[in-house]
């Protein structure tokens, strides 16, 4: 994130005004963020560890975990390759329309996941433009596992890109140019020069992408058909359990996703500390 500020940070001692600002700011932001976090683990573990474990290993839940992992497992490599290619294009070359391209790539971050799901069905669903034709050829891409995988990939496509691009832009092009002048090929330059330079941003982007793809809800709810034990992902399973009023079970599944989110944050903090200390 931001490195060291230009004005040094000042201590609070002897300044009641500063202390009040910190209490208000940290209190409001901290409570908004940590209360839901604490609630997830409190309600998940309320009936004890044995109940918690039995909720996690219920067959429908295990199936949902497997399906979410499958979707994330396919979305991740696709988005990593896409993110690196797109960031390389934008950081290493000048061409008109770069700002427009960035906006288009980041579009899935701003538009509602519901709209992405609906728009997807208008291409690949039976009411869509390609769906009936694909169906005639034995390919179904709606209300099944394939559709879950594809929309998850679409929704999480900007994450690796977004982490890598700013770093590539600040690093510039000199190292690549030097490498090419010294006789290295394009791929060799990418693997030996560019990728090692952005390694940590890629790793964090992949983790964030992983957390988001396991946790995608709106778009998946539209395209999945939501068949219990078949096309239910972890978040759809949470939705089902919560509305079945099996609260501890819903929070047990939620606690897995929350733990992954926490690991992602720890990793991010660690990566930033490395960046600052290596500056």
């Amino acid at each position: 994130m931001s490195g060291a500020p230009r004005s040094p940070r000042v201590p609070l001692t002897g300044h009641p005004g500063r202390l009040a600002l910190v209490v208000a700011g940290a209190g409001a932001a901290g409570m908004l963020i940590t209360l839901p976090l604490a609630a997830v683990f409190y309600y998940a573990l309320r009936d004890g560890l044995a109940a918690y474990w039995s909720h996690l290993v219920a067959p429908d839940t295990l199936h949902a975990i497997g399906l979410s992992l499958l979707a994330a497992g396919i979305a991740l490599p696709v988005n990593t390759v896409f993110g690196l290619a797109a960031a390389w294009t934008l950081a290493k070359f000048e061409f008109p329309g770069r700002r427009l391209l960035i906006s288009l790539i980041e579009l899935p971050l701003s538009i509602s996941p519901i709209i992405i799901g609906v728009a997807y069905l208008f291409v690949f669903g039976m009411q869509g433009y390609l769906g009936p034709w694909l169906d005639d050829h034995g390919v179904r891409l709606a209300f099944n596992v394939a559709s879950i995988v594809v929309v998850t990939t679409i929704v999480t496509s900007p994450y690796v890109f977004r982490e890598v691009l700013p770093l590539m832009l600040t690093q510039g092009r000199q190292e690549e140019q030097a490498s090419i002048m010294l006789g290295a090929g394009g791929w060799q330059t990418f693997w030996r020069v560019t990728l090692p330079n952005v390694k940590w941003a890629v790793i964090y982007g992949v983790c964030l992408s992983f957390a988001r793809s396991l946790g995608e809800f709106g778009s998946v709810a539209v395209v999945s058909g939501g068949v219990r034990g078949e096309t239910n992902t972890m978040t759809l399973q949470i939705d089902l359990l919560y509305h079945d009023r099996v609260q501890t079970a819903a929070f047990a599944v939620a606690s897995i996703l929350t733990s992954i989110a926490l690991v992602t944050l720890v990793l991010k903090t660690w990566v930033e500390c490395r960046e600052i200390s290596s500056d």
């Binding site: 209360l35 996941p113 519901i114």
Partner: protein, 273 residues
């Protein structure tokens, strides 16, 4: 003037990027627009000006605006204390700000709803005063605040860290107090980043689904958001109705993003010449 490119791979990388982008984003959004374009004006108007649909626009827009307003205050304050003061737990708070980015929205939704129902730990505090949070309007605002807070903090924070200390020293030596320095010297410098972050937060809140549906109560004409109505129309196999509504919401988001982009670059030019 075109210079020879030293680095190879432009064609492959740009081609791959555009191919993926076309398949993943442009093709579906184009299909959505095409589906809607097949409607006559009267049919289109019938869907998007339906009273239930109009009430969802009002609920969504109002809640998102209020949530963004609250978040601007909390977000700028959080960015300020993170950049300016040294206090115990600062690094932890800094790391925690990103949690809503990483936490699935559905998880946030059930956690916030369970906390704020009248019998929940937070809801209990408000229930004696007759204030309902979950299954009422404040719940929608709360859910939107949670998912969009990091946008504001993370846009303002680097700009604040990069401010020249001389500006404030000059203001102080000319006799301005801390509050006056903040509102007359620092805030104008931060304004473009506040607007940019606020726009991102607003657009994000307008489209938020997972966090809101669990806490909103989802009563038509009262606490139903637009994204949910689109979902319901799809569920009822009313594909054309869903397409018309989705197109309106999509167009609104795009116009808002574009307007904020233009405004931001104008402000930037005004302050930086």
């Amino acid at each position: 003037m075109p210079r020879p490119r030293v680095i190879p791979g432009f064609g492959l990388a740009l081609g791959g990027t555009l191919a993926f982008l076309s398949l993943a984003t442009l093709l579906p959004l184009g299909a959505l627009a095409l589906k809607t374009a097949g409607l006559s004006w009267a049919e289109f108007w019938g869907y998007v000006a339906d009273p239930r649909a109009v009430s969802t626009y009002r609920v969504t827009l109002f809640a998102a605006t209020v949530a963004t307003g609250f978040n601007i205050v909390i977000g700028v304050l959080a960015a300020w204390i993170l950049v300016r003061y040294e206090f115990p737990g600062r690094r932890l708070l800094d790391a925690a700000i990103d949690l809503p980015f990483a936490l699935p929205t559905a998880v946030a939704g059930i956690a916030l709803a369970t906390l704020t129902v009248p019998t929940g730990p937070v809801g209990q505090l408000f229930a004696p005063f007759g204030i309902k949070i979950a299954y009422a309007f404040p719940g929608i605002i709360l859910a939107m605040m949670f998912t969009s807070l990091p946008f504001i903090v993370r846009t303002v924070q680097p700009v604040l860290a990069d401010l020249e200390p001389q500006l404030e020293e000059a203001a102080a030596s000319l006799g301005a107090g801390p509050a006056s320095t903040f509102f007359h010297v620092i805030l104008p410098e931060l304004l473009p980043s506040i607007l940019a972050g606020g726009a991102l937060a607003l657009v994000r809140s307008l489209g938020e689904f997972g966090a809101v549906v669990f806490i909103a109560g989802n009563l038509p004409f009262k606490t139903e958001i637009s994204a949910l109505l689109i979902y319901i129309r799809m569920d009822e196999f009313d594909y054309v109705g869903a397409a018309a509504l989705a197109t309106v919401i999509l167009a609104a988001a795009l116009v808002l993003l574009l307007a904020m982009n233009l405004l931001q670059s104008r402000l930037y030019r005004r302050f930086h010449g």
